[in-house]
C-alpha cells in the first residue's frame, strides 16, 4: 500500500493517451487571507482522458480548477495550456481558449430561459440581432443530446437544481472545447442522467477532449476515470492510473490514514442501518399526518403519516415531486388542498415560520439559492434558524451560541474550524454541513432533509447517515430525500415512491434498492397511495 504516496506515473495512461499534456500546472500555491488552500500542487491533464480530481471536502479541488480557469490568480506557480504559459483573466477568457467549465455551484442566469442560458454569449444571429427561433432549436438539440426533455423556452429558475445542473453541462458541452472541466456535476443527478452524462463524456474523450471530473461517488469515478490525482489538505498526494489503485488505497490516500477507513465507513453505514432497524414508527400515533395534501401543478394530493422516531424515505426520479412534497410539509409552498395534523391537531402550514413553530425543519437541496447566507459567518449561519424562532428581541446568549457552534462544528467536522469564516468561502461540502447543522441546532421534531449529503465526501457522508439514524433513535422523525437509492433504502423505515408528481406507493423498510427501482420504473402514475406495508 506504500504506493499510494508515489507521486507520478508515466504520461501514457489509457491506451491512446500519449504525448504532451494539454494542461500542465506546476507548483501551484494559492493563499487566501488566513488560509492556504493549495500548496505546491502539480497537475497534468492529457488529451483523450477522463481525469478524476479526488480529495476530501476542502482538499482544494475546486480551488485548483478556479486557478486553472482564471477565477483566482495563483499566489505562486505556473499553468501551461498546450505548452504555452497562460494566466487567464477569468472564465470567459478560459472558455475562449477552449477550456469549458461547469463549476460546483451552478452560476447561470435564473431569470433567462433555458435556451438563452445554454447559448448565452454565442446565440445564433440574424441581421445583427439574436435569432430566437434558431437559439431555441439549437438549444433543444443540445438538450436532446443530454437526454433532457424540457421546454427550451421555459425560465431556468422554474426548474429544480438537478435540471439546472444539466443545463450548465449542456452549456459547457455546447462549445467545441479541448478541455472540459466538470466540478461535481453528478451531485444531484439520478442514475439515468449520470449514465447519459457518462455516454457524452466517453464520446468527447474519444474525440480527444481532455476531461477533468470531480465526484465524491467512488463508483462513478471508477466507472469513468482513466487516471486520477489525489489532493489532501491542499497538497498533492499522488497521480495514478485508476486501474492501479484499489478503492481502499484511494480512500486512504484521500484521508491520510492507511488502514481501516473503508471498513470504518462501512461499519458506520451498518451502524446506521442497525439503528434504523431498532426504532421505527411501528404502530405509534403519528407525529404528523397529512391527508389529501396537494398543490395544483406541483404535486397531486397525497396522504402521509410519520411517527416520532421514524425515517421516511422519498424515492423517485428527477421531477417526480420529491422536493415539492417536502416543500408542502414545510409550508415553503402553500397547499391548495388537504390538511395537516401534528399530534392530532390540525395546523396551518402557510409559511415556513408556522411549520417551524410546529417543530418541523427543512434543509433545502439548493444550498446556494435557498440555504446558506454566503456573506455571514459560520456562527451566524448556524444559529440563524434558532434565532429566528426566538425572535429578534431575545438574542441567543454569547456563551450558549459558542457552545452550540463548537459542538456542531466538531460533530460534523466543518473546516476550517473558524466560526468567523464566511460561509461563502467554504468548500461546497463544508457549506452543506453548515446548512445541516443550522437545522440540527433547532432540535426539530420532524426533520425534512432534501439531498442532505449532496457534495459531501464519503467519510462525512457515513457520519451524517449515522447521525440521522441516531437522531431518529432518540425520537426525531425524519423525511429523507436522496437521489442515491442505497442511502434511502439503508436509512428508511418506510419508502414513499413518487412518480410524475404523485405518490404512487409506499414500501416498508426491508425493501431493497431493486424493488424500489422496479416500482419507480413501472409504477403507473394513476395509481394512488397503495399501502404496500401493512
Amino acid at each position: 500500500m506504500t504506493d499510494t504516496s508515489s507521486t507520478t506515473v508515466a504520461p501514457a495512461g489509457r491506451p491512446g493517451v500519449s504525448g504532451d499534456p494539454v494542461v500542465a500546472m506546476q507548483a501551484i500555491t494559492m493563499e487566501f487571507p488566513g488560509v492556504r488552500a493549495l500548496e505546491d500542487v502539480d497537475f497534468r491533464l492529457f488529451p483523450g482522458e477522463v481525469h478524476a480530481l479526488m480529495g476530501e471536502n476542502g482538499a482544494g479541488k475546486s480551488t485548483l480548477i478556479k486557478v486553472l480557469t482564471g477565477v483566482y490568480t495563483a499566489t505562486a506557480g505556473t499553468t501551461e495550456l498546450r505548452g504555452e504559459r497562460i494566466a487567464f483573466s477569468g472564465p470567459a477568457e478560459a472558455q475562449a481558449s477552449g477550456v469549458s467549465t461547469v463549476y460546483q455551484e451552478v452560476n447561470l442566469c435564473p431569470n433567462l430561459s433555458v435556451a438563452e442560458n445554454i447559448l448565452l454569449g454565442r446565440e445564433p444571429r440574424r441581421l445583427g440581432s439574436i435569432d430566437m427561433g434558431a437559439t431555441r432549436s439549437r438549444a433543444a438539440e443540445l438538450l436532446r443530446r443530454m437526454g433532457l426533455d424540457i421546454d427550451p423556452g421555459s425560465i431556468l429558475a422554474e426548474h429544480p437544481i438537478a435540471i439546472q445542473q444539466l443545463v450548465a453541462i449542456a452549456r459547457a458541452v455546447a462549445v467545441d472545447a479541448q478541455v472540459l472541466i466538470l466540478d461535481e456535476p453528478t451531485s444531484s443527478l439520478d442514475q439515468d442522467e449520470v449514465a447519459e452524462l457518462f455516454r457524452i463524456m466517453r464520446h468527447l474523450r474519444d474525440e480527444g477532449v481532455a476531461i477533468l471530473f470531480v465526484s465524491h461517488f467512488l463508483e462513478q469515478v471508477y466507472e469513468i476515470a482513466d487516471r486520477m490525482t489525489v489532493l489532501r489538505n491542499g497538497r498533492l498526494v499522488g497521480e495514478h492510473l485508476t486501474r492501479d489503485l484499489t478503492r481502499l488505497q484511494l480512500v486512504s490516500a484521500m484521508i491520510g490514514r492507511e488502514l481501516g477507513v473503508l471498513e470504518e465507513v462501512e461499519r458506520l453505514a451498518a451502524d446506521a442501518a442497525d439503528a434504523a432497524e431498532v426504532t421505527g414508527g411501528g404502530d405509534r400515533a403519528p407525529l404528523l399526518e397529512a391527508t389529501g395534501l396537494g398543490r395544483r401543478g406541483s404535486i397531486a394530493p397525497f396522504d402521509l403519516r410519520i411517527a416520532a422516531g421514524e425515517v421516511v424515505g422519498l424515492a423517485g426520479l428527477l421531477g417526480s415531486g420529491r422536493t415539492e412534497l417536502a416543500r408542502l410539509l414545510f409550508g415553503a409552498d402553500r397547499a391548495d388542498s388537504g390538511e395537516v395534523r401534528v399530534d392530532g391537531r390540525v395546523v396551518s402550514l402557510r409559511t415556513p415560520r408556522s411549520a417551524i413553530a410546529s417543530g418541523i425543519a427543512f434543509c433545502s437541496e439548493d444550498r446556494k439559492g435557498e440555504g446558506i447566507l454566503a456573506d455571514l459567518s459560520i456562527r451566524d449561519n448556524l444559529v440563524l434558524a434558532m434565532q429566528a424562532a426566538r425572535g429578534w428581541a431575545r438574542p441567543i446568549p454569547r456563551r450558549t451560541k459558542d457552545e452550540l457552534v463548537e459542538k456542531w462544528m466538531t460533530a460534523l467536522d466543518i473546516r476550517p474550524k473558524n466560526p468567523d469564516a464566511l460561509v461563502g468561502k467554504l468548500s461546497g461540502g463544508n457549506q452543506q454541513k453548515v446548512l445541516l447543522a443550522r437545522w440540527l441546532v433547532t432540535r426539530p421534531r420532524l426533520l425534512i432533509l432534501d439531498e442532505p449529503t449532496r457534495g459531501i465526501d464519503i467519510g462525512a457522508k457515513a457520519q451524517i447517515q449515522k447521525l440521522v439514524a441516531e437522531l431518529a433513535a432518540e425520537g426525531m422523525a425524519v423525511v429523507y430525500i436522496s437521489a442515491e437509492l442505497e442511502e434511502v433504502a439503508r436509512l428508511a423505515h418506510r419508502v414513499v415512491v413518487l412518480k410524475d408528481r404523485a405518490k404512487v406507493a409506499e414500501l416498508d423498510g426491508s425493501a431493497s434498492v431493486d424493488e424500489i427501482m422496479a416500482l419507480i420504473a413501472t409504477a403507473d402514475g394513476d395509481v394512488r397511495t397503495e399501502q404496500v406495508a401493512s
Partner: protein, 384 residues
C-alpha cells in the same frame, strides 16, 4: 472524524493587512484630507470657539447642517441593508416640515411649546403612515423598492404643496426653533442624530435585529426558509426610514423657521444614499456599517461646506461631490483593493517556479524555467 490532519495552514492577517482591509479606512482618510485641505487654505476653518455656552466654528456648522443628512442616511442604511432603497425621504422630509409649520401656525397660540409639540407629533404620525405605505408596496406587494418609493418621491412634494397651499409658511416658535437651530453646547440637531445612531447601533447589536436584517438582505428566500419574518423586517425598516426623514424634515424647517414645500430636503435622498455607499455598505444589500454611514455623511457635508466657503457656485458642488464619491468608491471596489493587496504579495518569481516536468521524475534539473516568457498574458512575474 476521519481526519488526523489539521485544516489547511492558517495564519492571521497582520495589523497593516487588517487596516488596509477595513472598509472604513479610505472614507476616514478622505474626511481627514478634506478637513486638512480646508485648514491649509483657511486656518480659521478648524477653529472652534466657546461663547455663551455655544460652540462656534466651521466644524460645528458642518455638524449642525449635516445632522439631517446623517439622520436620513441612518434610515437609508437599514433600508439598503435589506436590498432596498428609499427615494422618497426628501419628499417625506418636506411633508413633515410642512405639516409641523402649518399646524403651529393654525393653533391658538403659534408661539407656545404646546403648539410646537402638537405640530411635531402630527408630522411624525403622518411620516409613520407614509413609511407604512412604502413598506406595504415593497414588502407586501413585492414592487421593486426603487419604483415603489418613486411614487412617494414624486407625489410627496405635491402633498407638501397641498398642505402649505403653495406658500412658504413662516413660524415664530422658540420651542420649535430649538430642534434645528438650538444649542446644548453642541447643536441640538446633531445630538438628536447621534442619539438616534447610537440607539440603532445598540439595538441592532444587543439584539439579533442586525443579524436578521443582514440575512434578509443577503438572501431573502434562504431567510424565509430559515423562519425569518422577512416581510415584517422589510416593512419595519421603511417605517423607520420615513420616521428618520420626518425628524430630519423638522430640523430643516426648524433651522429656518419656515416650511418650503419645494426646496426643503431637495436631493437629500441622493446625499443620504451617497453617504451610505461611501461608508462602505453595499447597495446589493447585506452587510452594512453604521460607523461608515456616519463618516460618509460627514464627508458629504464637509464637501458641501468646502465648496460654499471657497465661493464656488453651488451648482459646481454636485460635480465636486461626484468626483469625491467616485474616488472613494473606486478605492473600495474589490478589483482595485485586490490590486493594492496583490502588489505586496510575494510574486511568482523564477526561483519558486520549478522546471516544467513533474519533480519526482525530474531529470532536467537546471533547465531554464519558462517563467520569463514575455508573451504570456497578464503574467504576475516580479516587476520590482
Amino acid at each position: 472524524m476521519t481526519s488526523a490532519q489539521a485544516a489547511p495552514t492558517t495564519h492571521g492577517p497582520g495589523l497593516l493587512e487588517r487596516a488596509r482591509g477595513s472598509r472604513l479606512l479610505w472614507p476616514l482618510v478622505a474626511l481627514v484630507a478634506l478637513v486638512l485641505a480646508n485648514a491649509v487654505r483657511n486656518p480659521g476653518f478648524v477653529e472652534v470657539r466657546l461663547q455663551d455656552g455655544h460652540l462656534y466654528g466651521s466644524l460645528v456648522d458642518i455638524l449642525k447642517n449635516g445632522a439631517p443628512t446623517l439622520l436620513i442616511a441612518l434610515g437609508m442604511t437599514l433600508v439598503i441593508a435589506t436590498r432596498g432603497i428609499d427615494l422618497s425621504v426628501g419628499a417625506v422630509a418636506a411633508i413633515s416640515g410642512a405639516v409641523a409649520c402649518t399646524t403651529i401656525l393654525g393653533s391658538a397660540d403659534p408661539t407656545s411649546p404646546a403648539a410646537a409639540l402638537k405640530g411635531i407629533a402630527l408630522a411624525l404620525v403622518l411620516c409613520l403612515v407614509l413609511g407604512l405605505w412604502n413598506g406595504f408596496l415593497v414588502a407586501l406587494l413585492g414592487i421593486q423598492p426603487i419604483i415603489a418609493t418613486l411614487v412617494l418621491m414624486t407625489a410627496g412634494r405635491g402633498i407638501a404643496m397641498l398642505v402649505t397651499d403653495g406658500q412658504i409658511i413662516t413660524v415664530r416658535n422658540d420651542f420649535f426653533a430649538e430642534i434645528g437651530a438650538g444649542f446644548l453646547l453642541f447643536p441640538i440637531s446633531i445630538l438628536i442624530a447621534l442619539a438616534a445612531l447610537a440607539a440603532v447601533a445598540l439595538v441592532t447589536r444587543r439584539t439579533a435585529l442586525g443579524l436578521l436584517i443582514e440575512s434578509v438582505g443577503i438572501n431573502p428566500e434562504a431567510s424565509r426558509l430559515a423562519g425569518l419574518r422577512s416581510r415584517t423586517i422589510i416593512w419595519t425598516v421603511y417605517v423607520f426610514a420615513a420616521l428618520c426623514a420626518g425628524v430630519a424634515g423638522l430640523m430643516i424647517s426648524s433651522n429656518v423657521s419656515a416650511a418650503d414645500a419645494n426646496n426643503a430636503g431637495l436631493w437629500i435622498e441622493m446625499d443620504a444614499i451617497l453617504a451610505v455607499v461611501i461608508g462602505g455598505s453595499s447597495l446589493a444589500g447585506g452587510k452594512y456599517s453604521l460607523s461608515g454611514t456616519l463618516v460618509g455623511a460627514l464627508i458629504i457635508q464637509t464637501l458641501t461646506t468646502t465648496v460654499y466657503s471657497m465661493g464656488i457656485a453651488p451648482e459646481v458642488t454636485l460635480v465636486f461631490k461626484a468626483v469625491v464619491v467616485i474616488a472613494v468608491c473606486l478605492l473600495q471596489a474589490p478589483k482595485v483593493r485586490e490590486r493594492f493587496t496583490r502588489r505586496r504579495r510575494p510574486p511568482a518569481t523564477a526561483e519558486t517556479t520549478p522546471p516544467t516536468r513533474p519533480r519526482a521524475s525530474d531529470a532536467t534539473f537546471g533547465t531554464e524555467p519558462v517563467a520569463h516568457d514575455a508573451t504570456a498574458p497578464k503574467q504576475k512575474v516580479a516587476q520590482s
